[in-house]
Subunit: 329 residues, 2 copies
DNA sequence: GAAGAAAAATGAAACGTTACATTCGTGTCG
DNA sequence: CGACACGAATGTAACGTTTCATTTTTCTTC
């Protein structure tokens, strides 16, 4: 043993008494005479050889690494997405580079740049920056945000989910539905939740109000103000609220009960996402469930598709409704 | 423009009319004449050049990438850890490769192998496999599991936290404490929680029972059986339970209330971890809080320390107690 | 058994960097 | 005014792979 540094293919070739190219073939599962393969494998084991994927990546321009860009990893929706993406990727022998942006457009751009330097094979991104610059040669799949015809976008059926929420609420006896969302910086596919909700109400001939809370102002005060405006004789004008996310639903439920309004007796609530409780795994509220693992898997499938000539522009995955105690059923 | 492939340093050098080495210096912040630097930067911008970190990694043996190995990313404790690790790493311009193992020893070994191939600069691992083979030349920091004198282990002060729980429970009037854990495959630092608890009880002259639930059998039935054995005239023999994790605490609280036992009136509960609720951010239960961001930051610090000659063997970070409604205070 | 074809192993070139030994140019001092 | 020294740019040799044009071996067939 001469060097104390990591053994290379050359060392293995020397040890096994074969040529460099032969060693390469063995580690790439290319046809090699059985006796050679055995000798090489033996030598590699003895030396503790491991392929250097940086050298390999340099030569082949494939790194078997995909970057996942998310706002954060603590939000259960994002962590479920990451878990799903990891599982789909590792099933195909891919590694996952995780980048977190705090929903900050500059951080998003920095991530993209950093990740492009790293020469990943593709990016799955859930980003808000409206004018991200990303190398068009690098496969990119966007979650929940449509960038244009040459970047596939994967999302749940937000419109359909909104309709579903409306129909459920009406079916459960609501007469005055309200749609509630917190204002996001930038339009995304999830805005269609409200569109679907309103469309279904209209079709059923029910008037539907909507309120957009500004998260910079804090949710609490503006919502209180809104509520007091819409109280008539101690009762809330609205008897059903569709909230754009489960997180919002939880907040709203808290605020309603502080004001003495009972859920679901006085007001029924439906959320969106299908986030589940830590350890018990049950839902926080009645909600439209996004198929998170399928969402992640679809992203990976699309990203790693061999034939990239005819990719779908926008994929909407079906959602389902489930009761979680904030509706009367 | 000749190639349609990504521009290289050679292209930049050609465009700027300087030598290859000069371009390299510019991108490594080495001293270069100002006029040259400007020319190179201009050319790079024009061509859209980005450093190829695979080529760089091959040459320098540094990749500015660290692997984080966790059982999963959906458990809030792990995702908080990942978030903290990401923040500490990205502050130092490092990228994070995430590997998930499902606590499966073979998956753990596969991860290590895969990650070693990828020539990361170091590994932060929260693993259970007792005989992991990891390249001793590769910096490794273990979370919560002591591997030996040459692998630094970062954990919370589990023993101290256990003591703290005992003291709190006794102070709040408990006379018959119980320690509850679910059996993990392999010993880790977190086992000391029970040791600390028992030691503090002993010192105060209080008898302390302990129960180890086997998670393969399911928690529910064995715990029910245990409870019924320890009921005396409709009252539980134990008036305070220290659960080894918050997750367990939540389960236990559910089972107790199903049996008509009130928390905290009849039984007080203290958990461990300091997991916080989705969106509201408050605690699930009275608990010993682990300083998760500091835990993560410490791992990164230790891993990226220049001088690796004199690393601490075992670091215990201080924990704190906070009430979360499952104790009487 | 020799010649030719097919199959398989070989080894050199290239991938895009960095690092180092060279060369070049400028300014200083005798 | 020439020689020297110093700083700065240059260009080449690695880094550890893959790939492909060669060479070598093996097998057919007459």
């Amino acid at each position: 043993m001469k060097h104390n540094s990591a053994p290379t293919m050359k060392d293995v070739a020397l040890e096994a008494g074969v040529a460099l190219g032969t060693v390469s073939k063995v580690f790439n599962d290319l046809p090699v005479g059985e006796s050679y393969r055995l000798r090489v494998e033996e030598a590699a084991r003895k030396l503790g050889y491991q392929v250097n994927s940086y050298a390999r990546g340099l030569k082949t321009n494939r790194t078997f690494t995909v970057a996942l860009i998310l706002p954060n990893i603590t939000d259960p929706f994002f962590s479920a997405l990451a878990q799903g993406a990891y599982e789909s990727l590792s099933a195909r022998q891919y590694r996952m580079l995780l980048s977190l942006t705090s929903s900050n457009p500059e951080a998003e751009q920095r991530c993209i740049r950093m990740v492009q330097q790293n020469k990943v094979d593709g990016i799955i991104g859930l980003t808000y920056n409206p004018n991200l610059e990303v190398d068009p040669a690098l496969p990119y799949v966007s979650i929940d945000r449509y960038f244009g015809p040459n970047v596939p976008c994967v999302s749940s059926d937000n419109f359909g989910g909104g309709q579903m929420a409306a129909e459920k609420l009406l079916e459960l006896g609501c007469r005055h539905p309200l749609f509630l969302r917190v204002g996001s910086r930038v339009p995304g596919e999830s805005d269609k939740r409200g569109d679907g909700f309103e469309s279904a109400c209209r079709r059923r001939g029910v008037k539907c109000d909507s309120l957009r809370l500004n998260d910079e102002d804090g949710l609490v005060e503006p919502f209180r103000a809104f509520l007091s405006q819409h109280m008539k004789g101690g009762r809330l004008e609205y008897d059903g609220i569709f909230c754009a996310t489960d997180a919002l639903t939880i907040h709203i439920r808290g605020m309603l009960s502080e004001l003495g309004l009972r859920v679901p007796e006085d007001v029924q609530l439906i959320g969106f996402d299908g986030i589940r409780r830590f350890t018990t795994g049950d839902l926080y509220c009645s909600t439209i469930i996004q198929p998170i693992p399928r969402l992640a898997e679809t992203c990976v499938d699309l990203l790693l598709r061999e034939d990239r000539s005819n990719l779908p522009r926008l994929i909407c995955l079906p959602v389902t409704y489930a009761s979680g105690g904030t509706t009367r059923e």
